[in-house]
Amino acid sequence: MALSREVYQALEDIVGTENITEEPATLYSYAYQWMAELVSDVSGGSKFFDRPEAVLVPGSAEEVQAIVKLCNRYKLKFHVYSTGWGPWAAPPSAGQILLDLRRMNRIVEIDEDNMFAVVEPYVVAAQLQAEVMKRGLNVHISGAGAGTSVLANACCFQGGGPDCIYFASPQDSILSIEWVMPTGECLRTGSLGAGLGWFCAEGPGPSTQGIIRGALGGSGGWGVVTKIAIRLVHWPGPPTMKIEGTVPAYRTPLPEDLFRAEFPAFPNWQAFADAIYKLYDAEIGYIAHRQFVMWGDELQAAFLNIVTDPSKQLCDIPELLAMPEIQKLTEEMRRCFQLILAGMTPRDLAYQKNVLDCILKETGGWNIAFVNEPAVQQYVLLFLIRLCFKSLNFTATGSFIDTYNSVASPDIWASGEIEAGKALLKKYAGRIADAGDQAMGPISGQGGGGVTGWEDFVFYDPFDPDSVKAAIEVSDEGDRLKAQKGRPPGGMLLGLARNTHADETARAAKLARAPEYRWQRRLRELFDPNGVGSGNYFWGTEPKGEEA
């Protein structure tokens, strides 16, 4: 269904000829999104979702407002896109236009004294980090990596990551917001709404924090956030991170008296959980994440050797796994996480190291010596501080999803859920990568600690139909197991993304959280009376049956 010439002309009048297209090649580039083949009810099993009817590249909040008002006038659905990552980046159904915000890529302001930055939607984390580091500051980077939008991570979809223990979760870091609502009106929240600048989220102007963001965010279907102020934290390192090494084994040599990467390891999961509580209590750590287990506890040691050595490739895995030192490291790393300590002074770092040593002593843990090798130390620092290697998630098989993940207090690590996740993956091993425990996640999902969790990664081959089928099955089984325990579905929510109300998994998951979905829909009706926001795979459909 092509747009009428009248509508197309009206849109073109807003953004100019150069910034609108309905060329098929461009439209399909937006329809091609990660995991499309899994969301088969929407994509038909292909690598493509429905293509948008047109793509617009607005350059300002004013242009966005004009587009949204026009959509209301013509009852035309719009979907919003910035850096895009996953099925939620594509329009969820045909007949929609797509607003690509890549021209809105300005860092509007960096307020060093009050430690916040004001950014537009296409400012990526690496860009902002590079600028604020020059001023002795740093910014949270989502687990999706440094190439993703700071604003979208904060406002529009999940956005947590390895650094939340010190940097706080992104939703807790949002200050004032400029929001073009689904009606096209522009709402300025917090202190900005009272004309007092960007420094505060909750007043004296209006606060809509929970409405805009919630736990997941609107995934491109909830108006357009055109600017946010985001809180910054201290950075004790150099103004620029010097990058050394041969591609792909880049590394950064940071001052050794201020930075330290550690792999704390534990004899059992109870000790692991106890150590996390102690870490929270002691208030140490800049970044804390169970990162490299994304490759599987059986393969993470081998993979680390490959990515830190430019001469190695994936074909070296069998040989590496046969080496006694790798076997030893594999065993050592089974119950470990990655911890970056950053001292504001050398004395501060020394204190944190002492505290860590005490925690390890009290819990029977140890620091894995492998990370003391300079190349590994510097690689891990770069990996976790900049999160520039996040596409390594795709390295093993070309694609991944998660299943059976958990968000809870640290006790969850010792509750048997890790073993349950591992057993689930083992059941499908062969059709998905056989890698063992792949429970990757933050040691804290919020500032100072309190909540932790993981995603059970599933590596599948997106071009192998049986592997794709296995990925769907393991995702569904994970969600079913969780629904039986009254827990929400997996982080990427594929059960819901497939949007099949007839599907037992999605229905059970939605029913388990029915009041939330009901409230979301009520809010949606209030804020988007013409229903022009694209909706998304998770809450955009009309309720049916029991759910209604």
Binding site: A25, P248, Q313
Partner: protein, 373 residues
Amino acid sequence: MAISLAVLDDRVSCADEGLLDIVFQCMLDGCCDVACKVCRYDMEPVEIMRQLRFRLIDQGCFPFQDIPLIDNLRKEDNMMMARKSDRANWAEGLEVIDLTQGKADIAFHVGCRYSFDEELWRVPRAVVTLLKKAGFSVGIMGRDENCCGGRLYDMGYRGEFLKYAENNNDAWKTAGVQAVLTGCSDCYHAFKRLYPEEINFKLPVYHITELFDRLLQEGKITFSKSLPLKVTYHDPCHLGRRGEPYVPWHGQQKKIRGQILVYEPRKPRYNGAQGVYAPPRNIIQRIPGVQLVEMERSREYAWCCGAGAGVRERYPEFSSWTAGERIEEAVATGAEVLVSACPHCERNFMDALAQRNEKIKVYDIIDLIAEAL
């Protein structure tokens, strides 16, 4: 990649003008290839783009700007809209061996840009003079030199490329040369990477920066003059990240641990790590008085000059904008001179500079060598 899949799925027609603009505006500079391979061991973005171009050209879908260029190429064997009979004018009065008549150890392949761009003639002339002084037996094919075909290949004209590759190989065989030397990064990439991949080509290939770096290291030439200059070096894409030597591979894909894709035996990995980065920098840093400052994006992450893969000819405005971006980056270093080692980069920079109010000058690395000796 998304667009390639859309074409394969017949979602997008090859005749779609929007498709052609997207596909042919890519300079095939290989930057995305390097970026993808930081994390991936199974992706070949440059290869995908090349195959897409071959497919489009095979189906008769190409930008209209190609028509005069390819017509002239077929008649005159060059990419410069020039006459073949003028190809050796740059060498007038040089007394260099003509390999169609005489013998020499090294064939100096000048390339289309140096041959026909008068403002750059000083560079190949200096190369010949310096090599003769250093005692090398070097010759040229003169008027019978042909285009290397490398740019044609990137533009999607694989058939034409093969013709030139075979012709050049035959000519060098007939001349009995032991090695091929070039100062052009496009030609270097063609000879070093494409010829061994596409035809039975065995000759050693050197870029002038590799040769002069070696001569300096061996003490066969030394710099005697000081040049008080602050310079920055632009890595030509086809000498840097795409200048990696071809390594033959015959193997297969297989899966281990269920679904992990590997290659058996080990497949060569072209990720920009083995490009020609050190030789030009070694040369510059040996020149007394010269201070080398790096741009923000260098080596495997260098920003393209904008001339690659026919974009200068097909989309001149975009090409010029791209060069302008790089010039701004060079100016930001505080350098007085932007040095490169490719005539295509230099021409694009010079033309973009002519439209700007910047004082920075563009030098070929041979200019520095010649001045400092």
